[in-house]
Amino acid sequence: MVAITFVAVDGLEQRIDATDGLSLMENAVAGGIDAIEAICGGNAYCGTCRVHVDPAWRAVTGEITEIEEPMIEASGDTDPGVRLSCQITVTPELEGLLVRTPASQS
């Protein structure tokens, strides 16, 4: 299991024990992170699973991939750490990862 912390816009912190190999989105939904809506089920077609990766972790999670760009652009979310959590695969290297969830996913 990989420990990952989600911080809501009001500062509430929720830690989940994520499963290696699944996406961050799948782990968030299974872990009861309500701010991750993921209405397309993980296909990068809705942009409602956005997270803002803490600056210290951006090199590990990587840059926005080409698949993510259209929906992030359409969302208007300009946070420098924005990613679609459905496109981040949980690995042991993400132990201790901290991400913030946006005020709204739509």
């Binding site: 939904v29 299974a30 009861g32 993921a38 209405i39 397309c40 089920g41 993980g42 296909n43 077609y45 809705c46 942009g47 409602t48 080409e66 698949i67 760009e69 259209p70 929906m71 652009e73 359409a74 969302s75 208007g76 996913q105 739509s106």
Partner: protein
């Protein structure tokens, strides 16, 4: 062969509700579903999702097998795969994003619903599928940019004729001649009366729609026709049926209707998605393995992913899969529509649009004074699109 964990009609794991089946289209589907010859039916949700998300599969079934892929700029994005498909979808993906729906498309939905309500209250009653067709056509036409036709009703009629002719294609030289002649007539009418006027208008004044994008990117005439028919036709024909299906469930179930009208938008979406899980408009998706997909498909094998079976796979739905339970998806921590809009790179681009327009349509309709379902629809089967059609439903309300 199917990989489902249960037989149709069986309610394993649900002794309290054994025999209860809330699906309205199951019988007609069971009697008429026709997977592509030689394909293997996949009923497991997990296996179906693995196939649909795999980069090793290609579109198959229906007319995908006879499409000439050597000129990708002249065929619909629907038949493409890989990078080319992704780029074509990505270029207009923003038009279907949740934020765009809320900030832009909802205006069209509300405006159309104003007209539908006024018309219904003036007439006192109307065929439900006529009203749902009007909503589906107006919204799809606006997103695509088909806004310069004589009327939207005529636009819809012409689009429908092309789509019906295109999916009715049969093998053989004589059939090919007949097919080409029919298509020439129908596509010619669509080009002349709908697409060309829209293109000319967008050349003068670009907007944020599919046609403006194609004009900017210098799409060929054939390429534009195919793309418009794919986005527009799919949005019109499927949403029309789903609105009637959802209305039928809600008119029939008083408690569910009450919950729909008193709950918030999230709850309304949960109800609609659960109805769609039970009665998906699309029934199956075909994919051919371009190389082996580990554990599920052999090289060259064609899979028929059964949306209907995947949507009632107890491994993902939990017990009582045939029971309408709007709290199911949240309880099971899965995306509400399950497989109803497909999955993977080809997942329906208009999924959220369809859900939003259905939500608005029913929210307004069900609040009308004196509204009632005067006659229930007849459940028909469209063999060309392998999906149900609901005809004959009539709604009535107090005259305003």
């Amino acid at each position: 062969m199917t990989t489902a964990t249960h037989a149709p009609g069986e309610t394993t794991g649900c002794p309290a509700h054994a025999g209860r089946d809330d699906r309205k289209s199951a019988k007609v589907a069971e009697a008429n579903l026709a997977p592509a010859p030689g394909s293997r039916v996949i009923g497991s949700f997990a296996a179906g999702r693995d196939i649909l998300r795999s980069p090793k599969v290609r579109q198959a079934g229906a007319s995908a097998d006879v499409v000439d892929l050597s000129h990708p700029d002249e065929i619909s994005f629907f038949f493409l795969d890989g990078d080319l498909h992704r780029k074509r979808r990505a270029a207009v993906a923003g038009l279907f994003a949740p934020k765009t729906i809320v900030t832009r498309h909802q205006r069209v939905m509300n405006r159309t619903m104003d007209a539908i309500v006024a018309d219904l209250q003036a007439r006192g009653s109307a065929p439900l599928d006529e009203l749902s067709w009007q909503m589906a056509v107006d919204v799809a036409a606006d997103i695509v940019g088909l806004t310069d036709s004589d009327t939207n009703a005529n636009l819809a009629r012409r689009v429908k004729k092309v789509l019906e002719a295109s999916v009715a294609r049969k093998p053989g030289r004589l059939n090919a001649l007949v097919f080409n002649a029919k298509m020439l007539v129908h596509v010619g009418a669509f080009w002349k009366h709908d697409l060309l006027p829209a293109i000319e208008a967008r050349r003068k004044q670009p907007r944020d729609d599919v046609i403006s994008h194609m004009v900017k990117e210098n799409y060929s005439k054939k390429g534009m026709i195919m793309e418009c028919l794919s986005y527009g036709g799919a949005g019109m024909m499927t949403t029309r049926e789903f609105i009637v299906m959802a209305a039928w469930h809600l008119f029939e179930k008083a408690a569910l209707r009450e919950r729909y009208l008193t709950g918030g938008q999230d709850d309304q979406f949960a109800i609609l998605e659960e109805i769609l899980r039970l009665d998906p408009v699309a029934s199956m998706l075909h994919r051919r393995a371009a190389e082996p997909v580990e554990g599920v498909l052999a090289d060259g094998e064609t899979a028929c992913i059964s949306i209907r079976e995947a949507n009632v796979d107890e491994a993902i739905t939990g017990p009582c899969p045939f029971q309408l339970d709007p709290d199911r998806a949240r309880r099971m921590k899965v995306a509400g529509p399950y497989m109803s809009f497909g999955d993977g790179p080809h997942r329906c681009p208009g999924a959220q649009v369809a859900l939003h327009e259905t939500r608005i349509f029913l929210d307004r309709l069900l609040r009308l004074p004196g509204v009632k379902l005067v006659s229930e629809p007849e459940v028909l089967w469209n063999p060309q699109i392998q999906g149900y059609e609901l005809r004959g439903a009539v709604v009535a309300c107090d005259r305003g």
